[in-house]
């Protein structure tokens, strides 16, 4: 699938302008609150009419204001998972799921239904009414309902936002399973970078209504020239590490080309690879052998790029064993350690800050 958008939409003082070409897979839409993420999704789904736009999905025109063409939402075959789940309160869980099946593009095969119910752990909830479900359960039903309508594209608007932390983790687990098994392309809106880093392959960066970057998520995360991304609180890069399968004092060991990482969490079988979002603010730098320190995780790295300064801080991009690693340091550190491209350093990462 490809979703091609070229749109310009005014609403009061707010101006949304997006030109993007999105391939199949999961695309994260990231930006601060008020950046226009939800408005963008509503326009793609056809729930909001843009002032000027040409949007096509797999070559089919969804909306072309210049040619006066507009496809109503029920013909687009675009599933939508809302932040507030929007289950039909007068229907049971099963009836909600069937609503998606019955009206969708192609009635989902019974075996597909069983798979989706299994995937989202809904077997025990089928006879319940939406009012009796917890927030996380409601979202799982909403995701299943959308999947069963056999969408060509699935839009998810901060599905985890209204949940508390443990429920959010649980739902993210289910979402990861959906992303891994489903072939449906998705747009996943969130203002949480770790969430997006965990689920998405592509990233669309929205700032103040403007799409400032769009591309493979690993590339964008490892750039110091995208303030909306690199200066956010949760900025960071993803490291792929392989479990060694040993645990010591509650810390599991993982190997990476630049060194060994020890992190808390359940023991992962040896040889399994996990994605680790390392936040820029959790990475410190040292030149030479750092000696006695509480920080156990040390990766040999080379400075690739020093970003522009902002408020006394700046981002430094490292090459750690072939992976990009972003770190945030003070300008004073840049001077003292004479950080510049090619400088060999040791990246120090606190175990306590790592989770996957």
């Amino acid at each position: 699938m490809t979703l091609q958008m070229d749109l310009s939409h005014h609403q009061g003082d707010f101006h949304l302008q997006v030109v993007a070409d999105l391939p199949a897979g999961v695309t994260g839409v990231f930006g601060p609150s008020g950046a226009g993420k939800s408005t963008l999704l509503e326009i793609v789904a056809g729930l909001r009419r843009p002032k000027q736009a040409r949007i096509t999905l797999d070559g089919k025109v969804l909306c072309d204001t210049a040619a006066g063409r507009w496809m109503p939402p029920h013909r687009r075959g675009i599933g939508y998972v809302f932040q507030d789940s929007r289950l039909f309160p007068h229907l049971s869980v099963t009836e909600n799921l069937n609503f998606g099946r019955r009206h969708g593009r192609a009635p989902a095969h019974p075996s597909t239904c069983a798979e989706v119910i299994e995937l989202l752990g809904l077997a025990r909830l089928l006879d319940r009414s939406p009012g009796s479900l917890s927030g996380g359960e409601r979202q799982r039903v909403a995701i299943a309902r959308a999947l069963l309508s056999a969408p060509r594209l699935l839009l998810l608007d901060e599905p985890c936002a209204s949940l508390d932390l443990p429920r959010r983790e649980e739902l993210l687990g289910y979402l990861a399973a959906v992303c891994a098994t489903s072939s449906v392309p998705m747009l996943y809106v969130s203002h949480s970078l770790p969430e997006i880093a965990r689920l998405a392959h592509q990233l669309l960066l929205l700032e103040n209504g403007q799409a400032t970057a769009c591309g493979p998520i690993h590339e964008l995360l490892g750039r110091v020239d995208l303030p909306g991304l690199s200066r956010s609180d949760e900025a960071g890069t993803v490291l792929l590490v392989r479990s060694i399968g040993t645990a010591e004092a509650g810390l599991c060991s993982y190997e990476h080309a630049a060194g060994v990482l020890r992190l808390p969490g359940p023991l992962v079988p040896a040889g399994q690879t996990i994605r680790l979002l390392v936040k820029a603010r959790d990475v410190s730098l040292a030149v030479g052998e750092p000696g006695q320190l509480s920080i156990r995780n040390r990766l040999a790295a080379t400075v690739m790029e020093v970003g522009p300064p902002h408020a006394g801080l700046c981002e430094v991009l490292l090459d750690a064993g072939g992976d990009r690693l972003l770190t945030r340091v003070t300008m004073a550190t840049v001077g003292e350690l004479s950080l510049q491209s090619g400088r060999r350093v040791t990246a120090l990462i606190k175990s306590a800050s790592l989770g996957h």
Binding site: P72, R86, F99, H103, G104, R145, A146, S149
Partner: protein
């Protein structure tokens, strides 16, 4: 049922028939108009709103007189109906039902409109994104969720029809066994020298029917709320 005379029984039956028909026939257009007023914007919407509400604020006699001019034996619509369909409202129970329906219509529309407006539009959007076309959304989402208001509106319309007097008597007169409903019969009894006992009996019936209608609607609404689960 020995406490009622045969004439009184006929009146009660006729009242129920007229009110039931008035309500049933008003429901489909009432729901349609309420939906249009709740969910659509168009030029002249205020005019439709005013027209619907006129019977509520006009003297009932005026409504009845207008009906007489339009649907009476000499009225253009009345003549047309008589010649093409062989059907007449004039001095007929159907005319009473028409008058009652028109008087109850604004109450029905108001109640249904309020309940449609209170249906979360987000749910309608969700149904849209699942592939349901607008008509299906109305049938499967909007109306089921607005059902308590629709029932309440129907009961209001029914009660209004039971009590309708001015428009009915002006349009189709007060003919026992043909167009005389409870209020007309009560009024007639009061005019008679020894009619007070009959008036009292019929008054009791009117009170019982009105209360019965309210209780039924209350019960239905409560059952619906329960079925919808502890939905918020």
């Amino acid at each position: 049922m020995t406490i009622f005379t045969p004439d009184e029984l006929t009146t009660i039956q006729l009242s129920l028939k007229v009110s039931a028909w008035a309500t049933l026939v008003s429901l489909p257009p009432g729901i349609a108009v309420a939906w249009v007023l709740a969910r659509r914007e168009f030029p002249g919407k205020w005019l439709l709103d005013v027209l619907i509400h006129l019977p509520l604020v006009m003297p009932p006699v005026v409504t009845g007189y207008l009906l007489l001019m339009a649907f009476g034996r000499q009225g253009p619509l009345g003549i047309w109906l008589e010649t093409t369909l062989g059907f007449t409202f004039a001095f007929n129970w159907t005319g009473a039902a028409l008058a009652c329906g028109i008087m109850g219509f604004p109450l029905l529309v108001r109640s249904v409109r309020l309940s449609i407006e209170s249906v979360n539009r987000g749910l309608e959007q969700a149904a849209n994104t699942l592939g349901a076309n607008p008509a299906w959304v109305v049938v499967r989402v909007t109306l089921p969720l607005a059902l308590p208001g629709i029932l309440a509106g129907a009961v209001l319309c029914f009660a209004k029809a039971l009590g309708e007097f001015g428009a009915t008597i002006t349009f189709v007169s007060n003919i026992p066994g043909l167009t005389q409903t409870l209020p007309g019969a009560i009024y007639n009894s009061i005019q008679l020298p020894e009619g007070e006992a009959a008036a009292l009996r019929l008054t009791g019936v009117a009170i019982a029917l009105s209360m019965g209608a309210l209780l039924v609607s209350e019960w239905l609404t409560r059952r619906l709320r329960k079925r919808e689960g502890q939905a918020r």
